[in-house]
């Protein structure tokens, strides 16, 4: 699956979708969910949590393994996608349409990769 051009990417395989200049959504990339395999559980951060770029904010678990989810930007968590607690498989089914949490008051979002850079990064890592 192609990495969408309108998203930014972290090297820990989260995608970031800018909603406004200082807010956006975070999800997991196609590559990340494919590496994990069938996802059966995930946790979500708390609304109101202040997080820094690179912080571990929650985790996601497949039959095979558990993996940390990092925040790709610094800011405040304002919304979490609670439907995923009961339907974590959505991350497998539509990774780029399934957001995990929203962040506002973003203060740092540098160092993210664009689609082309991320695609290259994944190819080198694989």
């Amino acid at each position: 699956m192609k990495n969408p051009e309108n998203l930014k990417y972290s090297k820990s395989h989260e995608w970031f979708k800018e909603l406004t200049e200082t807010s956006g959504q975070v999800g997991l990339t196609f590559f990340a969910q494919e590496e994990l395999g069938d996802i059966v559980y995930l946790t979500l951060p708390e609304e109101g949590d202040e997080v820094a770029q690179g912080d571990v904010v929650c985790d996601i678990e497949s039959v095979k393994a558990v993996s940390d989810i990092h925040s790709p930007v610094s800011g405040t968590i304002t919304k979490v996608n609670e439907a995923l607690l009961d339907s974590p498989e959505l991350v497998n089914e539509a990774p780029f349409d399934t957001w995990l949490f929203e962040i506002e008051e973003i203060t740092a979002k540098d160092d993210l990769l664009n689609a082309e850079e991320y695609t290259k990064f994944v190819e080198e890592e694989a």
Binding site: G37, D38, V40, Y41, V63, K64, V66
Partner: protein, 363 residues
């Protein structure tokens, strides 16, 4: 460099994720299905596994039975031709070197099916302890092995074999069964808790047989399945795995495999040690996670903050939709229903002792 089975290219074409396992490159799951679907296919329809990494040794000659009696814990003196026994091979201290299946062809010919990861040490140990007039031959490279498991397995095989040529009873096998225009030995065995056959064939016939079974089975829901599903299936079925629930420091008593040890038979390696260890400090139990979460291997089990055990395998049960595990716990804390705290990363889960096999049938 990992070895490849004769189905390696087939796995790649089926978009398998390959992982190193026991010195082989093996499919852990297939991209189009994944471990959950593969698992449920075996529970509800059928799944086909390439398990050609398993080793096959032959013990032959006049001293064959006496050798088995001496090296293995089970009793082979009253076996019928075409019978199969599960057995352990222990060291002098009663520690488990290997768990394996023994197939009887005749009084002077037996096949041993061993774990790939233990292939070399098993061969050396058996060779060292062979009695006179007995030979040991490694035929692992000449023999391919497919496991077909699940409630529709029989139906699939009856489309491609003569029904009367198939083995009827659990833990029996038939020689030279005609399948896909070639001959194979077929046993009613498996590692999933479902009805199933295992097909031993010449390596060069493996692909032909695989394709024939797939063609017959696909319309009935048969899925190629990988080691990931094999692990979740055997865990639900309560079956121990070497390297997890068994190693050279664990006795058959601890892992609760007493049924495969016949202390009443004449002397065998490890007998005295096993007899003396009848009340081991720890014993194997099955655990179910209370609520959400997965307890994996090597997690500590706590009772009032005291460490009373540890897990050896753990996963998500696709049939029961919850975390399940196997663990060794202090014998006096091993009662059904006992609930332990388990620290997993930054949280504490609860896990409860339940009976094994796990309750995967009535979901």
């Amino acid at each position: 460099m990992d070895k490849k089975t004769a189905l390696y290219d087939t796995h790649i074409n089926l978009k398998a994720k390959m992982v190193p396992f026991g010195g082989f490159s093996m499919p852990i799951e297939y991209q189009d299905s994944g471990v959950l679907k593969e698992h449920l296919a075996v529970r509800n329809e059928a799944g086909i596994f390439d398990v050609s990494h398993m080793g096959e040794f032959f013990i032959e000659g006049e001293g064959a039975v006496a050798t088995l009696q001496k090296i293995f814990t089970n009793d082979f003196s009253k076996m019928k031709n075409g019978g199969i026994r599960y057995t352990l091979m222990c060291n002098e201290k009663g520690g488990i070197i290997e768990d394996l299946l023994v197939y009887k062809y005749s009084d002077q010919k037996f096949m041993l099916v061993v774990n790939a990861a233990n292939h070399d040490k098993d061969f050396n140990w058996i060779q060292e302890h062979l009695l006179s007039n007995t030979t040991l031959t490694d035929r692992s490279e000449e023999i391919g092995l497919l496991a077909v498991q699940g409630p529709r397995t029989k139906e699939i095989f009856e489309k491609i074999c003569r029904a009367e040529e198939l083995p009827e009873k659990y833990y029996t096998f038939k020689e030279n069964v005609e399948i896909a225009g070639v001959k194979a030995d077929i046993s009613r065995t498996g590692y999933t808790g479902e009805f199933g056959y295992e097909v031993y064939c010449r390596t060069e016939d493996l692909l032909t047989i695989f394709e024939k079974i797939m063609a017959a089975g696909e319309p009935l829901g048969l899925l190629p399945s990988g080691l990931g599903a094999r692990d979740t299936l055997r865990l639900e079925a309560g079956m121990p795995l070497y390297g997890h629930e068994m190693n050279e420091d664990i006795t058959p008593v601890e892992v609760d495999l007493g049924f495969a040890v016949k202390l009443a038979k004449e002397d065998f390696i490890g007998k005295d040690a096993i007899a003396a260890a009848q009340n081991s400090e720890k014993v194997r139990v099955g655990l179910e996670v209370v609520g959400r979460g997965i307890v994996r291997e090597e997690a500590e089990l706590l009772l009032a903050d005291e460490k009373v055990g540890f897990t050896t395998s753990g996963t998500f049960s696709p049939s029961m939709k919850k975390g399940i595990a196997m663990a060794f716990v202090d014998r006096d804390k091993s009662e059904i229903g006992t609930v332990f705290d388990v620290k997993i990363r930054n949280r504490v889960l609860q896990a409860k002792i339940v009976t094994m096999p796990f309750n995967f049938k009535n979901q």
